[in-house]
């Protein structure tokens, strides 16, 4: 502890920080900086995760809270009862697998379309003058100032049968019967793409902004046509942005619940919906927790492996 106390060097009268003292300071500072995200992760991820894991190993009960205790102490004997039945059941019933695969499908398609929409936007922003860039970027971020829920509700106003889009098309004479847009898969994709677009644009922008013009000029000098230049130079260089953006969109989209529930039809089967049903309709908190844990496992583990493999490849290169 002495090393971090400034009183020792101060006591000499002339304040001259010793090398040892400085190093100590630096170490503490480094430790502090590293401990903040660790603490954050522990507080807001690991502890809730442990609680959910605990509930997933319990059994339902008519009580508050509605599941059995894992530990049981009768004064002399401590019992630990772990119920793995919930997990077994998840593999026996095809509903969970169907919902999981369908969620992945919806998330993958949305991610792809988001990427296609976001890329030119991010490119444009990165290539525009610094003054305009600020304006354009703030336009991208601006929707966050309103609640996400309200924005989805606004889409309902646009898409419904007597909504703004149908009214406009009808009055222009383009259609003579209102289109059914709400409660369709189309509306779900639209909602997800709309909501997650900024999460794709921002990482893409940050890699595209760093793009070195001289590389493009070099490609041109070496005979690349514009399209080739895009595929062979720009896309590979912006790959980190593409990966980051896709993960930022894909991961929350898989577990998305609010958008399909508000904009989708009842036959859009997604894992978030199944979770809701387990929790609210079956009142089966342990089963709902087991679904959540397995979802995390099947989603996060492959992504972590992918990231690791990528990291190793980058290191090797």
């Amino acid at each position: 502890m002495n090393t971090i106390s400034p009183s020792a060097p101060l006591a000499t009268g002339r304040w001259r920080p010793s090398l040892q003292w400085l190093q100590g300071r630096l170490q503490v500072g480094r430790g502090l900086v590293a401990s903040v995200p660790t603490l954050w992760l522990g507080l807001f991820f690991l502890i809730p995760f442990a609680v959910v894991l605990k509930i997933s190993l319990a059994e339902t009960a008519i009580a508050v809270p509605p599941y059995s205790a894992l530990f049981d102490w009768d004064g002399a004997v401590a019992n630990l009862s772990l119920n793995l039945g919930n997990y077994r059941f998840l593999f026996e019933d095809s509903l969970y697998l169907d919902a999981y695969l369908n969620s992945i499908k919806v998330a993958a398609i949305s991610t792809l379309i988001t990427l296609i929409v976001a890329y030119p936007m991010a490119f444009m922003i990165a290539r525009s003058s610094p003054g305009r860039r600020v304006v354009l970027l703030s336009l991208v971020i601006l929707p966050f100032w309103t609640s996400f829920l309200l924005r989805v509700y606004a889409w309902m106003g646009f898409l419904k049968k007597n909504g703004i889009i149908n009214d406009l098309l009808l009055s222009l004479g383009i259609i003579d019967q209102p289109l059914t847009m709400l409660q369709t898969d189309f509306a779900v994709y639209l909602g997800i793409i709309y909501t997650y677009l900024p999460f794709m644009i921002l990482p893409l922008y940050s890699t595209l902004e760093k793009l070195d013009d001289s590389l493009l000029e070099a490609a041109e000098d070496l005979g690349c046509r514009p399209l080739q230049r895009f595929w062979l130079v720009i896309v590979p260089l912006s790959l980190p942005g593409i990966v980051a953006g896709c993960l930022l969109v894909f991961i929350p989209a898989v577990g998305e619940f609010v958008i399909p529930a508000l904009l989708g039809s009842s036959d859009t089967l997604m894992i978030g919906r199944v979770l809701w049903d387990e929790f609210f309709l079956n009142r089966d908190w342990p089963m709902a927790s087991a679904v959540a844990i397995l979802m995390l496992f099947f989603l996060v583990v492959p992504i972590m492996l992918l990231r690791n493999a990528q990291g190793r490849k980058e290191e090797a290169a």
């Binding site: 008519i62 508050v64 509903l95 829920l149 039809s265 009842s266 049903d277 079956n282 009142r283």
Partner: protein
């Protein structure tokens, strides 16, 4: 999809309850959406000086989940009787102290007896309102499609040929497995409270046969959708449909909404005011219950929400269009066709939910 308003309510509710000040007397009410007259709350606040935080939900499931997590912070909630049955077993309600309820005698004794099947001796709940589940429909749009036949049968929803005819103008069904399956069982001539797997399979087959014609399953969306012509048929609660009727009439777009209790019989349900065992302000909750039991307050609520109140003294104070409305206060003959629900076992609930998911997702 039973959470739209709940989410909105939760968002609004959080901001309200954060502002609570310690010294002020407060009452935290958690009630169904569109289920009280605004005057009732403001009058209670004025008379008692107690500030009311009013949150809403639109499904029993959401209410139960909140209460079962414990420490919900609510002082007064309004569960349906058949949900309350199991919640009482879990011990989440305090007993109601009738000594604090000078107006308890205004309640309809017959109705108290009916509710006692779920809440033995009426120890935990005080009837708030009761209602039926039936068919709400847009008179013109439905007539255009099915002709002049009377809308007095569940055929309109449960017979695929008829459901197909109204599919294009929008058919909505409550997202409530227990209630809809009970109605399907009753339509098939089976016991609506049956927990037999074979019966459930039959009900599922019936619902699956009409599923392609259903636009959505939701428990509150249909109120505004019915009113503005977004849908034309709804399997819903009487008061909600009649509120839609009222909204449509005041919008003046010529949309006429009807409500029918089908002749095959339907569900009657009862919502009870109850006080959670861990309520922070049980005295204020009792005051509110007693306030609602006053005839003029009860009548005011019934006039506004179009649900029947179980308050015999309130009957003369009702508006004519409410008292004489068979959708709100059905005749004795119709009452005889109504049936109530029991709580299901956890095992049956699981089968029920699974069947419901299969029906909704069409697989």
């Amino acid at each position: 999809m039973t959470f739209k308003k709940t989410l909105l309510g939760a968002v609004l509710g959080c901001t309200v309850s954060l502002g609570a000040i310690a010294e002020e007397q407060v009452l935290n009410i958690y009630n169904w959406s569109d289920y009280i007259s605004p005057e009732a709350v403001s009058r209670f606040e004025k008379e008692t000086g107690i500030r009311v935080n009013y949150d809403v939900y639109d499904s029993n499931e959401v209410l139960e989940a909140k209460l079962m997590s414990g420490r919900s912070g609510y002082d007064l909630v309004v569960p349906s009787a058949f949900f309350m049955e199991r919640q009482i077993q879990a011990g989440i309600y305090a007993e109601v102290d009738r000594d604090q309820l000078s107006n308890y005698g205004n309640l309809d004794g017959q109705l108290l007896k009916t509710v006692a099947r779920n809440d033995p001796d009426n120890v935990h709940g005080v009837p708030y309102t009761w209602g039926t589940t039936g068919i709400g429909y847009n008179v013109d749009l439905v007539r255009e499609r099915v002709g002049d036949m009377p809308i007095d049968s569940w055929d309109l929803i449960f017979k695929p040929e008829l459901a197909a005819k109204v599919a294009d103008c929008g058919l909505a069904v409550l997202d409530s497995p227990a209630e809809v399956v009970a109605l399907a069982l009753n339509y098939l001539g089976l016991d609506p409270n049956s927990e037999d797997k074979a019966d459930l399979d039959k009900a599922e087959a019936l619902l699956a046969s009409v599923q392609p014609h259903i636009k959505y399953f939701h428990s509150s969306q249909y109120i505004s959708d019915l009113a503005n012509g977004e849908i034309c048929v709804a399997l819903g609660y009487n008061g909600d449909v009649l509120q839609a009727q009222d909204r449509a009439a005041s919008a003046g777009q010529g949309v006429e909404i009807g409500y029918s209790i089908p002749k095959e019989g339907s569900l009657a349900w009862f919502d009870l005011m109850a006080i959670p065992a861990d309520a922070p302000h049980p005295e204020a909750a009792h005051k509110f219950i007693n306030f609602v039991l006053q005839p003029e307050v009860a009548a005011g609520i019934s006039n506004f929400v179009y649900y029947a109140v179980a308050n015999t003294q309130a009957q003369p104070l009702l508006n004519d269009d409410v008292r004489s409305n068979p959708g709100v206060y059905p005749s004795e003959d119709v009452k005889a066709t109504l049936f109530a629900q029991n709580a299901h076992t956890a095992k049956f609930d699981r089968l029920l939910t699974r069947a419901w998911v299969r029906v909704k997702t069409g697989r």
